[in-house]
């Protein structure tokens, strides 16, 4: 069964447009312009919308939105993740609903798989046989896995100081894995430049089709709630691509006539590395490079996010907020979520930490609803265990009865 809304159907690359929301420039998607000439990121423009209600995974359920022929996708089953309602936490915070979008239930256990699937389809549509990315975490594993599934060569560039044990979960998928010494922040641009030169499609953090993959997070949240959008959607923010994609997704739903309003968005950052929060508070239009501090929320430790300016503009346009959490608040949020049965990596738990703050500050009002995006699995960053007081007891079979009560 197909439910179609708006302008539905399969488009081809030449008809699909990438648009710069900042300067208004448009580009065809039949080549791979990863950023606008003005320096800001690009968004995939509206391609119509439809829902294949019998399909679970994003590449089939929401195929109508994407400008790919069905054969271009190489899906591992990304998307269709649970939205889990936490009643005890909602009550404690005086909210009508707290729901967690558990993105750790993706094929490589993070939200990155949505954008990677969409980028792989785009790369295949354009005839690429080589792909790459710059990441030492979720995106690295995701790109390595999807490249393997698509039988493409993958080049994964990681920071020079990454420990060997962090490389194994990427290397297992068989990419060319390069640990690059020198200034990490130069790798983003340099990889795009070299990729263009050498025919490697670098699907970095905020390239247009990665951001396009995140739109389905919004679609699924809305579907699961019967197309009533929550009052607030809170997203852990590093490069800024995921938040941009989720904003676009809710705008798609409204344009398709499926929802009436937009949620308000909160960009959630670790206080220790919070360039978007600093610029937002200062009323600036552009972010500035933040110091290279440490944070337990390693998956969002980006001191100079490439979509930072765009995120600022989106939040101002839509009346959103940027909030930060201290290291202690992040650890507490990770424990709180685990005590609800959801074990997210520390970055994934920043939304709950900032929700507490947003309630204390009155930004989120009593009786409202909030959806928190839990971006990846707690198994991804076992170093965080050291921050918790974890308990167990030793006994023997004879003394066991004394402990079971």
């Amino acid at each position: 069964m197909t439910l179609s809304f708006g302008q539905n159907g399969v488009f081809f690359m030449k008809k699909a447009l990438l648009r710069c929301k900042t300067c208004g420039a448009e580009y065809g998607a039949d080549r791979a312009p990863f950023r606008c000439a003005c320096g800001e990121p690009l968004d995939l423009a509206w391609n119509g919308f439809g829902i294949e209600a019998n399909e679970r995974c994003q590449s089939r359920r929401y195929a109508a939105f994407y400008p790919f022929a069905a054969g271009e996708w190489r899906s591992l089953g990304e998307g269709g993740t649970p939205l889990v309602k936490l009643e005890t936490l909602a009550k404690e915070l005086g909210l009508a609903e707290v729901a967690v979008k558990n993105e750790s239930a993706n094929p490589t256990w993070s939200f990155k798989d949505r954008g990677t699937a969409s980028c792989i389809a785009h790369a295949r549509a354009l005839g690429y046989t080589k792909v790459g990315t710059v990441s030492s975490g979720n995106m690295a594993a995701s790109v390595a896995a999807y490249a393997a599934a698509a039988d493409m060569e993958a080049f994964v560039l990681v920071k020079g100081n990454v420990a060997d044990e962090k490389l194994a979960p990427i290397a297992i998928y068989g990419p060319h894995l390069l640990r690059v010494a020198g200034p990490y922040y130069e790798l983003y641009g340099e990889s795009l430049r070299l990729g263009a030169e050498r025919g490697i499609y670098f699907m970095n953090s905020d390239v247009p089709f990665r951001v396009a993959g995140s739109r389905t997070i919004a679609y699924e949240i809305a579907e699961e709630r019967g197309f009533r959008v929550p009052d607030w959607v809170i997203v852990p923010t590093s490069a800024g691509g995921n938040l941009r994609g989720i904003v676009n997704g809710f705008e798609d739903l409204r344009r398709a006539g499926l929802t009436e309003k937009l949620p308000r968005f909160i960009c959630a950052q670790a206080a220790n590395i919070s360039p978007i929060a600093a610029a937002f508070a200062a009323g600036a239009a552009r972010i500035r490079r933040f110091p290279d501090n440490e944070t337990i929320a390693h998956a969002i430790d980006n001191p100079f996010p490439p979509s930072g300016n765009r995120v600022l503009a989106e939040l101002r346009r839509l009346g959103g907020a940027v909030l930060t959490a201290s290291e202690g608040e992040i650890v507490r949020a990770q424990a709180d979520l685990a005590r609800c049965g959801l074990f997210g990596q520390p970055a994934s738990c920043v939304p709950l930490a900032v929700l507490r703050r947003a309630r204390a500050d009155g930004i989120v009002a009593e009786g409202e609803s909030a959806a928190l995006v839990m971006t990846g699995s707690g198994l991804k960053y076992t170093a965080a265990f050291a921050a918790h007081r974890l308990e167990w007891r030793d006994c023997d079979l004879a003394s066991l009865p004394a402990y079971l009560k």
Copy 2:
């Protein structure tokens, strides 16, 4: 929308029956008989069948099968996992289809969540407030997580020799975690005995409602394939509960008139610990305790599986097979699956290893189809990385161009 087949509707505990397939005895599900008086395990009897086609997660999509009121479930979104078709491997093996049911896309990243969800619903229906399990792996984390979600006390008993770092991913959910010195194999029965005495519902590996949760793996495989069953379904087998549940699930589908035939089943074991294979080969009706060998497939290292006899009987009744894989074959299968984008823990990869053997031995014929159950995430057992030749290179920004080609 509800598609209903056969006898549909919500049953209550007193109407639901647990049946011993071995001696034919029946028990009401209104108390918690975890095994038959004859010593063999029990199965939840047919409760009717229906599919809520708009729901993804097992507790809503397949609720009609289970004898619970909707309010008893405390779901974290288990089920609805991807079935991923591996075309290159199928071609290499001369098969029409090789599909992997990726159970690592569950809330705690293993298939155990299905059975845990069903046990929690049963425990709640019977008025329990305390639950427990005996496991140091997937089941321990799953029970700890679901107990947290249901706001129940959990007692998780692990082997005396388990290392501290294996306990953290269980402890994070906040259970009573007990490391019990002494003979591990006695813990299964002792926990059930103490649980009955003290009002703790021990949802061990093959208790009836855990096995009942595994039925939905069969439902989903069949649905994803348009109700054409694959020729073969291959399941990594430890206690035997998962295989029993999947067999029951395919029988349900046939009884509901949705499928015409049953697949044939292969019980996949690590050669190093293969009590069911040994008994099957010897034509014995009962398994014997296997030596406590080591295997990289730690999640199925059960030398005396409590459902071993029942699995033997089921496979003989249905014309299945029991096959084993060597340590080297398991490692190779793990690498092969990762090179298809699927990173399973070693035990999860045993089905691919035995499929290769089944093809070589002519058990699985050319042109047939096989579904492999990948039971848990590769992130669960990082010790396995040491068995692989994983590669990366160090370079610097200046030399990077030489590596990108």
